[in-house]
Assembly symmetry: C2
Homo-oligomer: 430 residues x 2
């Protein structure tokens, strides 16, 4: 932070979004863009079309061209408004062509600030760019802005995007619970929830049961625990002795002891599945139970990408924090920080939830995956403990006021005007 009072680094910034979208990643975008536009030292704000690919392809949007009103609507707009990508950067020691190209673009647009909004892979991208620029001696501040509904980013109490997804999942499971309870017949409903390697989202379904008068999943299976078809069947049978309708939440990442995904299990008899089991994991497990327990009625439901796109039921806490991490990234960079990710640090010592932004070295977060602690899963491996409930509950709080038109959400409509490089820099190379 030393050089801030001396001579702040002036220049343009590029902001990009990466990985799978969330309900609030655009709130982080607004945090970055608004703060950068309002800054005296950031001379120009560019948005990268489709993440780092927009930098590589010289496809940048001029954020000055956007209406303030539309930009502000980003706070409640789901999905990645600037477009996203899943692009794995090479190791610069092996192949530095992408890095050279990025440097070229940075010079072309006089870019001295780079903000990248994403999950694990994006923090890795951030880290590599940061190190390369340092090594090459190009002064540039690189900051990671976290997001992921999966909540598997290391070093942060939780990730922006997770709370809203958890809230949608809890609400949907409560409503599904109400719905499946309607007929006076034995029925098992299996709901498939996102999370390939970490069970945070699936675990959140427990909120429906805890706060919906039992109207939520009776059983919850996370990828942190090896899945066993016999134990699963026994669990269901046990619940069916108490009630006619059983609701089960399963993570898409459930796997057997050998590491193979249950969702990818072949339809032959070898893996315990009998006849052809069509469809995704939920339908597969539902049909398996139907056959094995001779049930008349089963149902498999995949919440699919509504989990990450349902901004209409976002958490106000999540939106606020998503905005804050974006804003903090810009402020920290201006004050001299680089090579950092903005993380969230929880303080609930007072009994009340609060979170403040802290900076972590990108080295320490890139490529690590945070899983649900085993001690937050019940001993029999089919539900979560109160510690998890206490962890997640504050993150889903608050109803944002969603701007509407004709009773439908009014989401941001950006003009996305293609940026033109400043003339003075187009020919000057350092």
């Amino acid at each position: 932070m030393d050089n801030f009072f001396d001579s702040p680094l002036t220049g343009a910034c590029i902001f990009g979004q990466s990985g799978g979208p969330t309900a609030v990643i655009n709130a982080s975008a607004y945090g970055v863009i608004r703060t950068a536009l309002d800054s005296d030292v950031i001379t120009k704000v560019y948005g990268a079309a489709y993440g780092i690919q927009g930098v590589l392809n010289d496809e940048l949007y001029d954020m000055d061209e956007e209406e303030d009103y539309e930009l502000k609507l980003l706070l409640n707009t789901p999905s990645s408004e600037l477009g996203s990508c899943r692009y794995k950067m090479a190791d610069p020691d092996v192949d530095d062509s992408d890095y050279k190209r990025i440097l070229e673009i940075f010079k072309k647009y006089d870019v001295r600030y780079f903000f990248y909004n994403g999950g694990n892979d994006s923090m890795d991208t951030c880290n590599k760019i940061s190190k390369y620029m340092e090594k090459i001696g190009y002064e540039c501040r690189v900051m990671g802005v976290p997001k992921t509904i999966d909540n598997d980013l290391f070093g942060t109490d939780h990730c922006p995007g997770f709370g809203s997804a958890a809230k949608f999942i809890a609400t949907a499971c409560m409503e599904i619970g109400k719905d499946t309870d309607v007929y006076n017949t034995d029925m098992v409903t299996v709901v498939e929830i996102m999370g390939r390697h970490a069970g945070w989202l699936t675990a959140s379904a427990a909120l429906a049961t805890e706060y919906g008068n039992g109207c939520g999943p009776d059983l919850i299976y996370l990828p942190e625990i090896t899945f066993d078809l016999d134990a699963f069947t026994d669990d269901v049978v046990k619940i069916m002795k108490q009630k006619r309708n059983v609701l089960v939440a399963v993570s898409e990442g459930l796997h057997y002891a050998d590491g193979s995904f249950v969702s990818e299990a072949k339809t032959s008899g070898t893996d315990g599945f009998g006849h052809a089991q069509l469809g995704g994991l939920a339908v597969k497990l539902a049909n398996y139970l139907k056959e094995r327990l001779n049930l008349k009625k089963v149902r498999g439901i995949e919440l699919s990408l509504l989990q990450r796109s349902s901004a209409h039921i976002a958490s106000a806490v999540d939106i606020e924090e998503a905005f804050m991490v974006g804003k903090t990234a810009v402020e920290a960079a201006i004050s001299g920080e680089t090579g950092k990710m903005v993380a969230l640090e929880r303080d609930d010592t007072s009994g009340l939830y609060s979170c403040r932004p802290v900076l972590l070295s990108l080295n320490s977060v890139a490529n690590y995956e945070k899983k649900v602690p085993i001690e937050w899963i019940t001993e029999d491996g089919n539900y979560v403990t109160n510690d998890f409930i206490n962890y997640v509950l504050p993150l889903i709080q608050g109803e944002p006021k969603i701007p509407r038109s004709n009773s439908l959400p009014r989401y941001a409509r950006l003009k996305k005007v293609r940026a033109v490089a400043p003339t003075k820099n187009t020919v000057t190379m350092e």
Copy 2:
């Protein structure tokens, strides 16, 4: 209405819910129960457990035992709170045992009013009971209260339940549209929407496109039009020439010229599908396009029962009308009506939408199915006209204030106290 001023028919009432639940069927329940509880001539209000089966099994709940506060929460509680059934009554001329049993229960509890909330089949049940009671000479007022998300009930402008489902579908499609627009790759997403025989719900997805700045389905296929795989493929190709991401909404009830459902098409080559197409209709069609058009990215999404259970995003107009039809049924019955269904009659002559309740003979509505008028479907059969948009838009209006606890919906929790028959009537038979 003649006998109202003379001597109103006093006695108990039974209310039952039937068929698939909706987001607002409980608002109709509240309309019936509240009005009946407040009435001077209805001496007792019973709720049937699991629809007509609760009558047949002598499983009735005593509505006097419920808290006013919890009853009022029914206005925003999805699903059928009293439980539902799908039970087809026999023709009484062939087998009158169910009717005799119903008469026995009616006498046992001194029931003079019967209100039944459901769709086509339930109106048929209502009609049969009404006729039987009349034939047998047991004085009893029987009224149908309409509901169905499918909107296929004859004689009413629309059905309570449809507006809220349409609003969820439009919002979800807008959010899915935002989400799928994120990557810079060719992609087709197929969304499967409920409606086996009528396309009202699938057509409603157009609201996302019309009011979401194009962020909704580009193509819409209803069961009113025979489905053709080649025409479908051509339509998609045509859209892909204009934009990289194509969103398609399909009705679960799509069928080929021979009447067979596309969803049930075998995975052999005979029906135009190539290799194994697993999953439901959306996945099936998405995979078909993937193979035929050599696409890298396709996605199939089934909105599943969230369509009928998403009370958190219900239409305020729908809730109000659902309550109104329930209330009107009770008031009309008290004033002497019987054998009627409460329908909704639209008046938009002033340019402003309004709907008033009218009574239709159950004879005229039972077992007819109302489909989307062919003139509301575009000539090439892959979208809907403005007439449909103008029809549906008023029905999704208004955001209800959802009671919440811990930022999750606080749905009604009824005690469901089993009713005891009044002693004076238990041994007396007419």
